[in-house]
């Protein structure tokens, strides 16, 4: 299920992980980001995302930034 933050940005990490049949821990190992930080992102509690993090996630999930993040009013 996608998580919606106060800023209006929706993170679709859960959906992408399910589609790729990947766990959060496996993704954390691939992108060299802690599970805690990935949980912060997954649950919509992140205030900012570094480009390096976004690029690493897109590479690991074989997706585009628009697949991972969407903006909804």
């Amino acid at each position: 299920m996608a998580s919606h933050s106060e800023s209006g940005i929706t993170v679709h990490l859960d959906e992408l992980l399910e589609q790729r049949r990947m766990t959060l821990t496996e993704l954390a190992d691939q992108v060299d980001i802690t599970v805690v930080n990935l949980s912060v992102l997954k649950n919509g509690r992140a205030r900012a995302v570094r480009f390096s993090t976004l690029a690493a996630l897109c590479q690991a999930l074989a997706c585009h930034p628009g697949d991972l993040l969407t903006y909804e009013t």
Binding site: I33, N37, R47, R50
Partner: protein, 199 residues
């Protein structure tokens, strides 16, 4: 706190500090100009501050002015109850102010010790200290001066002329500095919040 109200507070502090700086520079320029004027034209009066023993005060040359005020100590023996109450009340005012400031400082230092100083709570503590200095210190000083004058007037006869109340400026200036520090901490707290939520 919203971004808009925080920016207004910072702007106010910046303008107040700028005003004081300009006033200080202007006064310095005035002093320099007066000194140069006196050096060039002559006839300028100078005051050199020295210290002499009280025994020599009455025998000073005519070109040396006696001090306008001399510190004295009025001893009250066998004080009446109201005198005792006023004396202790006077001391209590000073102690209360110091304790209030120290209390906030202690809580602030504990957060530093715990490795988490840039919080909204510390911003509020610093603003409280600033308020205590800007408002509390002058009020406390005036109250204490008034108490001292009343105590001395009740203990002396013969028309001793005690110095009138004076307004202490050290507290407000220090309080302004603490308010500036509070705004720095507020900015640090915002930066910390941003960093914490960054992945």
């Amino acid at each position: 706190m919203t971004e808009t109200s925080t920016s207004r507070a910072t702007l106010f502090m910046t303008n107040a500090a700028t005003l004081l700086l300009v006033a200080g520079i202007a006064f310095g320029v005035f002093i320099l100009g007066s000194a140069l004027d006196g050096a060039i034209r002559g006839g300028h009066e100078l005051a050199v501050h020295q210290e002499v023993s009280a025994d020599e005060v009455t025998s000073l040359p005519s070109t040396v002015d006696r001090p306008r005020t001399v510190p004295v100590t009025v001893h009250i023996e066998d004080a009446r109850p109201n005198q005792v109450l006023v004396a202790f009340g006077r001391d209590l005012v000073a102690v209360t102010l110091v304790v209030a400031i120290l209390w906030q400082l202690r809580l602030l230092l504990r957060s530093v010790r715990d490795g988490d100083p840039f919080t909204g709570a510390n911003v509020r503590r610093l603003r409280a200290i600033g308020l205590l200095l800007v408002l509390g210190a002058p009020v406390a000083a005036l109250v204490m001066q008034a108490c001292d004058q009343w105590l001395a007037s009740t203990a002396t006869t013969g028309g001793l002329g005690f110095v009138k109340l004076s307004f202490p400026s050290g507290g407000p200036v220090a309080g302004l500095g603490v308010f500036v520090l509070a705004e720095v901490f507020a900015h640090g707290a915002r930066l910390r919040a941003d960093v914490e939520g960054t992945v």
